[in-house]
């Protein structure tokens, strides 16, 4: 039975900004991914991208409600199912243009070991859209089966 047939195309989850709460989010992503018969390797990619989105928000967003608001959506486009994960924080936002691009050279010269989160998300997901401002940051990531 599809989620459409069950009348549910999205699942919402709110997690507190607290250590290891990203694992709670990945468990939900895995469950939805399995439901649409996404491969285990692709589910792992979604899980890691989601982990990076969560820990970025935990570390940098300073969410006013100390929460992350997640939505897991399933859909179909061009005859392919997809899992879309939206991560919303009600924090202070950030200027994407100000983010320094990481590189292995910078990482191994000791100048910048961190800062890989966005790059990892973009590398593992089929699409990543980020909107950020004073109201917070919204990341919408999609992976096709």
């Amino acid at each position: 039975m599809s989620l459409d047939a069950m009348g549910a195309r999205e699942i919402s989850l709110t997690i507190p900004v607290a250590p290891d709460m990203e694992i709670v989010a990945t468990a939900q992503a895995a469950a939805v991914g399995e439901f649409i018969e996404m491969s285990r390797d692709k589910i792992d990619e979604v899980k890691l991208a989601l982990v990076e989105a969560c820990i970025n928000a935990f570390e940098h967003a300073h969410a006013r409600d100390d929460r992350l608001h997640l939505i897991f959506r399933v859909g179909r486009e061009n005859a392919r199912d997809f899992l879309e994960v939206e991560v919303l924080d009600r924090g202070r936002g950030f200027d994407q243009a100000s983010i320094e691009q990481p590189s292995p050279e910078k990482t191994f010269s000791g100048r910048q070991k961190r800062g890989w989160g966005l790059q990892i998300m973009r590398s593992l997901m089929d699409s990543v859209a980020i909107t950020s401002g004073e109201g917070g940051t919204r990341i919408v990531m999609r992976k096709y089966t």
């Binding site: 792992d44 982990v51 292995p104 191994f108 590398s123």
Partner: protein
């Protein structure tokens, strides 16, 4: 997946094998580093990190693994990874670990690789 990363150490001559089980985040990375440094202090020349029971390594955990790799390189030692899932393998390549450390499919190949290096 366990939230706590367990790390088991085994020694074969001057090669230390650290096997992880669970999520490698900052705590998991720090436990790996603690055990890796203990092995180096007691004479290990090469480290093999077997991640076959780990399905997620976050970027904080990887940054700690890079610190371990740098310490091994400073000592002119060897570090190799094995048992990586495709996602971890891809992430290690994105972040450049594959440029500085060998990646093998199996523990046996990794041990042989660092022993002959």
């Amino acid at each position: 997946m366990s939230e706590v990363c367990r790390v088991a150490a085994e020694r074969r001559g001057d090669v230390a094998i650290l096997s992880t089980d669970g999520y490698i985040n900052n705590q998991g990375g720090e436990e790996i580093a603690r055990q890796a440094y203990a092995q180096l202090e007691t004479g290990a020349r090469a480290l093999v990190l077997n991640l076959e029971k780990t399905r997620i390594v976050n970027s904080i955990g990887i940054s700690i693994l890079i610190e371990v790799l740098e310490k091994v390189m400073d000592r002119k030692g060897q570090l190799a990874f094995c048992g990586l899932t495709p996602t971890i393998d891809k992430t290690f390549r994105i972040m450049g670990l594959a440029q500085y450390a060998a990646i093998y499919p199996t523990e046996a190949e990794a041990v042989q690789g660092v022993a002959s290096a």
